[in-house]
Amino acid sequence: MNWHIFVRGVRVTARKDMMIYYKKAPVFIFGLILPTFLFFAFFVGRQLDVQRYFPGFLAMSLFFTSSSVGPLIVPWEKQQGTFERLLSYPVNIEIILLGDVIAGAVFGLIISSIVGVVGFLFLPLQLADVLLVFLAFVLGNLCFSSLGVLLSSPAGKTPANIMMLAALVRFPLIFISGIFIPLNEMSGATRLVTQFSPLTYLVDALNHGMGQAAVMPWYVDIAALVLFTFVFVAGASFILKKRSMKGL
């Protein structure tokens, strides 16, 4: 493996994705508008403790934005007829996937950072561990961007189908990850279900970083985010290698 070509391929693919897909309507709708409406629906007008619920809201915003780009790329490229040409460049499936993951993660990082900075500037929030919040931001974005890429890996050439699948997977996750009901208030089967959601570990890590009650040690949260990222990328690579020609 020529690592120089590999790294260059990842960088150029991410750049290409940023130039093309950040401007797409589904990215705006599912990545920006939807979490904003969810925020209004659940948080505004209710007498909620801002400090207690802000880590969950920040995690939800990060989750939606970083996972909104990935599902779009492969089906869109197949629909436009650019995917086959992309495969003929000095790239392989791993290069394409990692480029897509980075593009999604950078988008999520930018938007969630804006949300975070605005929150810290205008709301009475506590920042207990800056480094942990930063680490959770980076790993969370990589993890959920990878989830987006995994969702697009079995795709044909109809982006709408994959966006529906993505919505089907993403919506249930926000209800079982301690966003609307704090993790420390859950018990029994509900608590058990939360363990299977990667979003749980981001919410918990942000709770640690913002001085709120957390349910797991911070290093477990970080390890879980890394593990989920690895599983999502490996799964996407396995599926896309088998299905890369679907729809061509």
């Binding site: 590999f6 007829g81 790239v91 392989n92």
Partner: protein, 303 residues
């Protein structure tokens, strides 16, 4: 490029069946075949888009399966479904490909601009490709494939459905890059184009190579009966043509096609026939099988 015992199956269908090919450095090589013959699958295997079930492909001494990234660095590809990004400008599309191949910034800018200028897109290079016609998009596609002067250029039906002007521009550009030393592999349905451009053609049918040689040698190999083609200034009844060495006479549009073992005798006979019937010859030529005839014979397609 060397292809050895290349095979690719899709379920029960063998799309490429034990194909062996060698394309020499600097050669202009044509890959012909009817629809579903396995041309595009062969190209997809050569470009690394598909993985073969068995066999190997070596490009410039680099085995594709072992070093796919290095092997792909040698190639410029214009796939059959090879669209460029409609949401990027023509210049950004070409620049993007230059980045994938690691061209330095200055060289990338110079070459992108020069290529788009040469391809008649000087005024439109900053426009989004989505606003372009099919011919203009294909010109951008050609610029993308040429931006890094590949040693092997692979074109899958590059002029399909284009107007004459775009087709000529693209053919001229490809001829130039071939003259500068790049090897060109062209797949096309346009047999006349292959006949005109290619030094050698390979005819592929049902996944197998059925013939591989220069167009003239292929024609000669299949040319059993020479013919004389003549057009007179007015319609002539075929039944009037009688000569011992005339095997058959067919009307082909405004011409008569006379099959014979002795073209010279038939030409002398036609001179006398002309005087006898007060006719004027508009055109006269000897003709054998065209490359298209050879193609049809080899692929058993009813003409």
């Amino acid at each position: 490029m060397r292809i050895e015992r290349l095979t690719k199956r899709f379920g029960q269908v063998t799309a490429v069946d034990n194909v062996e090919l060698i394309v020499q450095k600097g050669e202009f090589f044509g890959l012909l075949g009817p629809n579903g013959a396995g041309k595009t699958t062969t190209i997809r295997l050569v470009t690394g888009v598909l993985k073969p079930d068995s066999g190997s492909i070596t490009i410039d001494g680099i085995e594709l399966a072992r070093n796919p990234l290095e092997a792909k660095m040698q190639m410029g590809v214009i796939p059959e479904v090879g669209n460029v990004y409609p949401d990027l400008s023509a210049l950004d599309n070409v620049d993007l490909v230059g980045r994938y191949y690691g061209l330095p910034r200055k060289e990338r800018e110079e070459r992108s601009n020069a290529l788009l200028d040469d391809l008649g897109l000087k005024e439109r290079k900053h426009d989004l490709v989505r606003k372009f016609s099919k011919g203009m998009r294909q010109r951008v596609s050609i610029a993308c494939a040429l931006v890094y002067e590949p040693s092997l250029l692979i074109l899958d039906e590059p002029t399909e459905g284009l107007d004459v002007q775009s087709r000529r521009l693209i053919v001229d550009m490809v001829k130039q890059i071939n003259q500068r030393g790049s090897t060109v592999i062209l797949t096309t349905h346009n047999i006349e184009e292959a006949n005109r451009l290619c030094q050698r053609v390979c005819i592929i049918n049902k996944g197998k190579v059925v013939a591989c040689d220069s167009p003239e040698k292929l024609r000669a190999a299949f040319q059993l009966t020479p013919a004389v083609e003549v057009a007179f200034d007015r319609q002539v009844d075929i039944a009037l043509l009688k000569h011992p060495s005339l095997q058959r006479a067919d009307a082909c549009g405004d011409k008569l096609r006379l099959l014979t073992e002795d073209p010279e005798a038939i030409i002398e006979y036609l001179m006398g026939f002309r005087k006898e019937h007060g006719l004027r010859i508009v055109s006269l030529s000897t003709a054998g099988l065209s490359l298209e005839d050879v193609f049809v014979k080899l692929c058993e397609v009813p003409s």
